[in-house]
Subunit: 110 residues, 2 copies
DNA sequence: ACACTCAATGCTTACATGGTTATATGTTTT
DNA sequence: AAAACATATAACCATGTAAGCATTGAGTGT
């Protein structure tokens, strides 16, 4: 990170994190990691309502995190910003590490 | 990321991102990157009110992102989860990349 | 004990956001 | 053109949360 950080920059970064701060959106993105999916497929996979999925997809698209392709009646969505998975992996790794630390501490006690 | 993702796991990941989704908290963390700082120092550096800073520090601490050390009258805070900077760097890099892409596209047009 | 300083804690307000329901738009099929 | 299907949008409600303000709590020095 830089030495100084402008307000706009901070706002942009925060915004990106905010997009990733919702379980349902994470679920959608997780599904898209396997490849392009239609709205209906995402509805089935996530268990959310169709309007809910559509709205999330809309906000994700507005911010460039997913792409949309229309084919006939259906809309196919796919990942639009690969950085997502780098970020998620980093977070998952950190959680795994912390979990292991706690586990090993428990091992020392027991 | 794994093939399947439990609800609790998604909630935990989302929670971490939520912590990073606020500009003021990012500002605080950014300040702490340079090293341990007291609340007063953070108040001065961020321009926020003291209660506001304290509250953010409290939530960050609750989730293990910062550590607290008391010395006499003052409380010194420091980064408690190094993964933060990996994540932030990934996001910053992605934004830089996208910016460069847009810039080069503009170059092609102009 | 008192005053002073640093930090934390309610309390309230204002605003953003996620979810639901109902409806609209758009496309294919009959 | 009418019905059926896929997706998007609008209106609404409930909840969460960030910021401000006043206050309390905790430590230090007189």
């Amino acid at each position: 990170m830089q030495a100084t950080m402008s307000d706009e920059m901070l706002e942009l970064i925060a915004q990106r994190f905010r997009l990733l701060s919702d379980p349902m959106r994470l679920r959608i993105l997780h599904q898209l990691q396997a490849g392009e999916k239609s709205v209906t497929e995402l509805v089935e996979a996530t268990g959310a309502s169709q309007p809910n999925v559509s709205k999330h997809l809309s906000t994700l698209r507005t911010h460039g995190l997913v792409r949309r392709r229309q084919e006939g009646n259906m809309a196919y969505f796919s990942i639009g910003a690969p950085f997502i998975f780098d970020v998620c992996n980093t977070v998952c790794d950190s959680m795994k590490d912390e979990l292991e630390q706690k586990t090993s501490l428990l091992g020392q006690i027991g």
